[in-house]
Symmetry: C2
Subunit: 86 residues, 2 copies
Amino acid sequence: MSKWWVKLEIFLKDGILDPQGKAINSALHSLGFEEVEEVRMGKILRLKIEGETEEDIRDKVRKMSEIFLANPVTENFEIRVEKICE
Amino acid sequence: MSKWWVKLEIFLKDGILDPQGKAINSALHSLGFEEVEEVRMGKILRLKIEGETEEDIRDKVRKMSEIFLANPVTENFEIRVEKICE
């Protein structure tokens, strides 16, 4: 079996208030970065995982996200399979 | 000026203990996902930002990260410029 690096990005759905992102946006403006229009804050997980194919890995990580890692009511997630280690 | 989406990934440097990642790893094992070998937890920010060129955007976001968004002693960051909105 091969080993894979997976990145899982989890963001609050668009339309759901993100106070952390808003606070960062204001702080950036105070620091002079006026060109920033919007900031959304999210979580990212990097997983090292064993599996046969990229499809297999995607299915597993999707399942983990749905039952445990993300909240499907408030959050969207995106899976990126980055490279094979071995 | 164009508008850009930027994603900024921030992870603890390799070698720095990541208790949150370890806790998630254990929880995934308890749920039957034994094929997961390692988990690292990070932050991700999605920024909407105005600027002339991709290089210009990268420079700005690098500066924001170095002075405010990331801790250069303990964290690594990666910038991805994703698409032009307008």
